[in-house]
Symmetry: C2
Subunit: 349 residues, 2 copies
């Protein structure tokens, strides 16, 4: 059985004010009509032998997950993290739940807040990745770069393994721009945090490379009361875990890693500048949503949620109007949103 594991622990602060602590961006509709977590769950529906997803999230978001997925006919099992511990423990807990369903289960680990434009190509590549995983590889998708991004880590592919995959020669950190250009020219791929492996294989590797974490997650999972579709991971084991990403805990140390190149219109929609890039532009390069009036304005993103927004004579701005706040920002300042939210009153963040 193939089991989607949807990670919904992210906070998406760079998309404030659309993304809030109470309602991070995965619960919003950024592109199209469904929310991002709905898109994520729907994306795998075309594959065969796919079970209901496992979703890992914090307690404050569990009811949103349940409600939004129910709205598209999906009945997830929700694993609730008592506290945020980065991705490795979350994936480990999901793998334990997957094993309970099927000892041979292959999990497809998906962040809940990414956009994929070409769903058919994605599905085709997931099929390949599942085959690679069934050969015993811990497989990650490496996004084929479309520009020399400095905001992502990269994966250097090594020798071929199987039909389509390569060994992982190295994970490398976010580069400066010059290095990024070199990486793209050398065939490096973006590390997008999408993984496919047998649940049992991941847990084996975690036990080898991070035995304390493995033990703590097992404790937290096994001590969770049986509540049907919701698993409250137990604080006893969970709270002793040192937060660590799946990359650091398993994917870098493992000798069983593989990478598959993926070119499917992927974006993590990491900032308002990215959302502008993804949008449909008018003749002057503007992207608008809602009740917006423009005059003499170029290369600007304007979103109106609750009342009309009139923009005159500007270039390269992001304007976001919501029912309780307005953000006006230069497109080049899009990465600075997180910093200013730290200065705002709690009720706005």
């Amino acid at each position: 059985m193939i089991i989607p594991v949807i990670l919904s622990g992210g906070s998406g602060t760079r998309l404030w004010p659309l993304s809030r602590r109470a309602t991070p961006k995965q619960f919003r509709s950024l592109v199209g009509t469904q929310t991002m977590i709905q898109d994520t769950a729907a994306r795998l529906a075309t594959l065969g032998e796919v079970g209901e997803p496992l979703v890992v999230c914090g307690a404050r978001h569990a009811s949103k997950v349940q409600k939004q997925l129910a709205a598209i006919g999906v009945s997830p099992t929700i694993l609730i993290e008592p506290s945020a511990k980065n991705t490795a423990p979350a994936v480990a807990a999901a793998c334990l739940a997957a094993l309970d369903r099927d000892p041979e289960s292959v999990v497809v680990v998906l962040p809940s807040d990414h956009v994929i434009e070409d769903v058919d190509e994605f599905a085709r590549m997931v099929d390949l990745a599942v085959a690679t995983a069934r050969d015993g590889y811990l497989t990650t998708f490496g996004i084929v770069p479309t520009f020399p991004a400095t905001g992502y880590g990269y994966i250097r592919p090594g020798d071929s393994v199987g039909d389509a995959a390569s060994a992982i020669a190295a994970f490398v950190e976010k580069p400066d721009e010059k290095t990024a250009i070199d990486y793209v020219a050398s065939g490096y791929l973006w590390n997008a945090g999408i993984f496919v492996f047998r649940a049992a294989d991941f847990l084996d590797e975690l036990r080898t490379h991070a035995p304390d974490m493995h033990a703590s997650v097992v404790t937290a999972y096994q001590s969770a009361p049986d509540e049907g579709d919701t698993v409250h991971l137990a604080e006893s084991g969970w709270n002793t875990i040192d937060p660590l990403s799946i990359d650091y805990a398993v994917m870098e140390p493992t000798k069983r890693g593989a990478v598959l190149p993926l070119a499917c219109g992927w974006s993590d929609v990491g900032s308002w500048a990215t959302l502008y890039d993804l949008g449909t532009k008018d003749a002057l390069g503007n992207v608008i949503q809602g009740n917006v009036f423009l005059s003499g304005t170029e290369n600007t993103y304007v979103r109106s949620d609750s009342k009309p927004v009139v923009v005159v004579g500007v270039k390269d701005l992001i304007v976001v109007e919501m029912d309780d706040v307005v953000l006006v920002m230069h497109r080049r300042a899009a990465e600075d949103v997180k910093a200013i939210t730290e200065q705002l009153p709690d009720e706005l963040t």
Copy 2:
């Protein structure tokens, strides 16, 4: 008796969205706490022998005038124009009402939507202007320019008349920038639309230079039903009037004109750019009002009326948030607001 005549027929469209058809800028607080028409009425309170003001406005604004002036203890007589006919007929009607109070009355004609920072200096100059008016001159204040403005008409002073005034050598139209520099260097003054004269003298000159208008205004005034503090000028006479400014109808043709230089921190607050200029600036040149958070922002005006506004990484913007609309505009585009309001739905203008 000195009688203030407050002209409240302006629409202030360049200050949209603060200024609306239903509530033009004179009924708003732009600088300080009182509304502009309240400031205008209060400005003359320090003078001696000043009667209650006459206010000329359209029917839709009469109750606002009454209410706002009552709030500061002023009981105006309101002359309601059946239609807008520019300033000459409005002033003529007010002069007829002033004559009914006192045949020797001197009127001080004031637009309702100007800012004057140095009220003491203004009062001192009004005293001088009243003396000049009592010598038989139709006196206008010429604002001493503080920069080579291209947005105002200018007055060229001629020979001295009386103690402080000059004859009016010429009224000249709004200049281009080069011409404006010449004008300022040559001692020209801004034409601000503030006048002081005996009501009888103005009506005499109007009868001489615009006899049809004079006759129509007399008809409209004399046919108005007696309603105490409100005079509904009669459509019968009024609607036959060709609109004309006081400058064209009387001040240019008269041989009895005089100009007094006035340096009192005057502004017509004609646009958002002017409101920025008038504001108190922080160390980065920003002017803010209301619940505003700035980061990396310079030389920007932000006004929040109903919800927080966050501005990040921009320069030279005007941001105005009101309960039903948001305006984001480059400071250099401030003169373009009027044009865009013509494209907006009626309920927003």
